[in-house]
């Protein structure tokens, strides 16, 4: 009796689980194949398009932007992504040195400003050089990210910021994933930015989404940035590149290959450019010189030893953005315009 029950049960469990697993694995591999096959195309589409924040759709780049601020055109997203992994990090919407020149251009009268021009002005505001700051710079910062950000929280000694970080966090999880945020309590990211004010917001997400379609990822990422800018218009937003994985992992796993991480990062850089956010790429600091995370820094294939997170934070400190009088003036100017 017992044996018969067992054999029947086993047969049912075997067949049902086999069918489910088979279905799951096949559909995942198809989805991954689609994601892998389409990502170059997705990236090219992103590069060719510029995001039009109003209707949530990607629209062709608007030439008028370049006319208003010529410095931007030369260092626009397309040029920036030619060799993104090895470039030193910089504000995505312009080189540091151009930042000094841009604010010198006279501001047009506020009442003559079109919305396009306003957008361009908002970007011009971002064109300041990085400064070295102390850790107190982060006391009004929100840091959002996956396990790498968890590593920063736990091992860098940087206690000042508010962290919204979780191992396995994805851009898609920001709406629903509830985390226990220190001094605030359980909240989702969306609620967090609706109810609390932050002067700086750092986002480091993308590697857990490596299996998704790049265009889906970019669309969601884009909408998250748009949402942040809407709810926290004053915040300085830093979009961080995803850290590479080690060479062996990169060679073994197409999904997490560093060439793919480059593409994800390139998409993030384009979005940073579109929104006038700062794009920070830490990879040159920890790379082996060939576009992989150096095994000197990592014991597993994707996470650094605890002791290196401090180096990372020192680097972040060298990438502080402090607005000067000119950018303040632009701020005032935008306020004035918006009040009209």
């Amino acid at each position: 009796m017992g044996k018969k029950f067992f054999l029947t049960g086993l047969a049912i469990c075997f067949i049902v689980s086999g069918a489910l697993i088979g279905y799951e694995k096949i559909s995942i591999s198809i989805a991954q194949k689609i994601a892998l096959d389409s990502r170059a195309e997705d990236l090219a589409a992103l590069q060719a398009m510029e995001y039009d924040g109003d209707d949530g759709e990607f629209a062709p780049a608007d030439a008028s932007f370049a006319e208003i601020l010529p410095t931007e055109a030369v260092s626009g997203p397309l040029q920036n992504t030619e060799n993104p992994p090895f470039d030193e990090s910089r504000p995505a919407s312009g080189e540091g040195d151009s930042g000094e020149e841009a604010p010198e251009e006279p501001l047009p009268p506020a009442d003559t400003l079109s919305s396009d021009e306003l957008e361009a002005l908002k970007r011009r505001k971002r064109m300041v050089e990085y400064q070295t700051v102390g850790t107190d710079y982060f006391s009004d910062a929100l840091m959002v990210g996956d396990s790498r950000m968890v590593g920063i929280r736990e091992y860098s000694g940087l206690k000042e910021p508010t962290y919204f970080a979780y191992t396995g966090l994805t851009i898609f999880g920001l709406d629903n994933k509830e985390l226990d945020v220190k001094n605030i309590g359980k909240t989702t990211f969306t609620k967090l930015i609706s109810n609390h004010h932050f002067a700086k917001i750092y986002i480091m997400l993308g590697i857990n989404e490596a299996g998704s379609k790049l265009s889906d990822f970019a669309k969601k990422y884009d909408s998250v940035v748009a949402d942040i800018q809407e709810k926290q218009p004053e915040a300085i937003i830093f979009l961080c590149a995803n850290l590479y994985v080690t060479k062996s992992k990169s060679e073994r796993d197409k999904t997490y290959a560093n060439s793919h991480i480059d593409e994800i990062n390139a998409a993030i850089e384009i979005i940073a450019g579109n929104y006038g956010c700062y794009y920070l790429d830490v990879n040159p600091l920890f790379s082996d010189g060939a576009g992989n995370l150096s095994t000197e820094y990592a014991a597993d294939y994707a996470h650094m030893y605890g002791k290196h997170y401090r180096t990372w934070v020192d680097w972040l400190c060298s990438k502080g953005v402090v607005y000067d009088d000119d950018t303040m003036e632009i701020d005032q100017y935008i306020d004035e315009y918006q009040q009209q």
């Binding site: 009796m1 017992g2 044996k3 029950f5 067992f6 054999l7 049960g9 086993l10 469990c13 075997f14 689980s17 086999g18 489910l20 697993i21 088979g22 799951e24 694995k25 996956d146 396990s147 790498r148 736990e154 091992y155 860098s156 000694g157 191992t167 396995g168 590697i207 857990n208 990592a298 014991a299 597993d300 994707a302 996470h303 030893y305 605890g306 002791k307 997170y309 401090r310």
Partner: protein, 460 residues
């Protein structure tokens, strides 16, 4: 192809079993032979050299067995030559693949990067035992190459043991297997092994991986202890799980393999522990090294020397590296001390014995797992709160305690003899079979979620 993989459970095994059960009795060894070769080839498909080496090893040992048998009857002494030649050839093969990179590197010859063929440590030892058994007359040589391959390459025990000697399976190999097949009992044991590997070992393994990933200089003392206990559990449930799966598969095919683990963490002394841990390796060393050297029958100093030989060999069998030599040596010291009378003390004061094992087992595993000496030193320093620390996350043990606490307790429970006793009591009842099905579904869920592979499970 590991037993706890989707491809094995849902593809290879069912196909193999159907064919094996359906073919007439006289072809079952053929199926076992070619199925096992297919199993090995699939697992080593990217390394044709390894496949070739394995096939040569099979043919050579088969021929050596026959040579020994033939020369035994004619000229005295020639059989010993063939035995020595066979053992030497097997050891040379193992030596090249397992130790050459290490030794060459130590001699300053640079990196050789020789990759270890799957199962070489196991099949080499079995091959040696086979020719030794033929030489000693413990068994006849296999009747044909097919039968020999069916024995040595038999896929359930090919990649991770237990080390099955030819005489243990000789009878089953040539008798009616349909009568010997015990599918239900085999499936039960296989499921238990699967659960042990997938539900316990793979999951608890995450804690040790975290610890290594963080770096020993950044962990707290409780975290260091928690991690080494986690590693001890991972190693046990992984290896024991594999052995159970092998034993279960063996029964499904009509073979009875030797028991390989008997609640090792319930031991009261190191001697006791090694009689319960990887028992087939222990008995191999006893049978083919320790006893031939004279065992404990040639006086005290000779006994100690024999023990030293066995434990140093045990050390290097597990891997090429100074830490394995140190590990083997520490085991030798403990076991030699126990032989001097400590063992009897622990047997009578069992609580103290358990306490001794509570520290001795994880600490010897710490020697085993840390192949890098500076890391090894740092890890031991961290266990007692010494060593230079950098960027310690002071609440790490709370975080990982919350994450792994229940699993650690579960592992502790399954390391005792309670589950075994419980199993005995309810064996055959519907509740027992239901438990088996639940375990199977749990494993299937982990496979479904991609949690079977710790590498996949580890998210960013």
């Amino acid at each position: 192809m590991v037993f706890s993989s989707i491809s094995f459970i849902y593809l290879f095994l069912p196909v193999f079993l159907i064919v094996y059960y359906k073919v007439p009795e006289k072809f079952k060894n053929h199926i076992l032979c070619f199925g096992s070769l297919a199993f090995y080839i699939i697992g080593s498909i990217e390394r044709p050299l390894h496949i070739l080496v394995f096939i040569i090893c099979l043919i050579v040992n088969w021929r050596v067995g026959i040579k020994i048998q033939k020369t035994k009857k004619s000229k005295r002494g020639l059989d010993l030559f063939w035995l020595a030649a066979g053992v030497a050839a097997n050891l040379l093969n193992l030596f090249y693949f397992k130790y050459m990179s290490f030794i060459w590197g130590e001699l300053g010859g640079g990196e050789l990067n020789i990759v270890l063929p799957i199962g070489i440590s196991f099949y080499t030892f079995q091959a040696i035992s086979y020719i030794a058994d033929v030489y000693r007359g413990s068994c006849h040589p296999a009747a044909s190459l097919i039968d020999f391959v069916a024995y040595l390459a038999m896929f359930p025990q090919l990649i991770a043991g237990p080390i099955v000697t030819y005489p243990t399976v000789e009878e089953a190999l040539y008798s009616n297997k349909t009568e010997r097949v015990r599918f239900v009992s085999g499936a039960e044991i296989f499921i238990l092994g699967l659960g042990s590997k997938v539900l316990l070992a793979n999951q608890i393994g995450g804690l040790w991986r975290q610890c290594v990933g963080i770096g020993f200089e950044s962990i707290t003392v409780p975290m260091a202890w928690m991690s080494i206990f986690a590693y001890s559990f991972q190693l046990y449930f992984d290896f024991c799980g594999y052995s159970l799966m092998a034993i279960g598969l063996g029964r499904m095919l009509g073979f009875e393999f030797p028991e390989n683990f008997r609640d090792p963490y319930m031991a009261v002394s190191m001697t006791d522990f090694w009689r319960r841990w990887h028992m087939s390796l222990g008995s191999w060393f006893r049978e083919y090294v320790y006893f031939p050297l004279g065992g404990s029958k040639r006086g005290f100093s000779r006994t100690i020397l024999n023990l030293l030989t066995v434990w140093m060999l045990t050390g290097i069998w597990h891997g090429a590296g100074y830490n394995f030599i140190l590990w083997g040596f520490v085991l030798f010291v403990l076991i030699a001390l126990e032989r001097l009378g400590l063992k009897d003390f622990f047997e009578t004061h069992r609580f103290i014995g358990h306490l001794y094992m509570l520290f001795a087992i994880p600490l010897t595993w710490a020697l085993f797992v840390n192949t890098d000496f500076s890391n090894l030193k740092l890890f031991f320093q961290r266990l007692v709160g010494l060593g230079d620390t950098v960027a310690v996350f002071t609440e790490d043990y709370i975080k990982y305690g919350k994450q792994y606490g229940i699993l650690l307790l579960a592992c502790l429970f399954f390391s005792t003899d309670l589950p075994r006793r419980l199993k005995k009591r309810i064996h055959g009842s519907p509740a027992y079979y239901l438990a088996m099905l639940v375990i199977f579904c749990g494993v299937a869920y982990c496979l479904y979620k991609g949690m079977d592979d710790p590498f996949l499970y580890f998210q960013f």
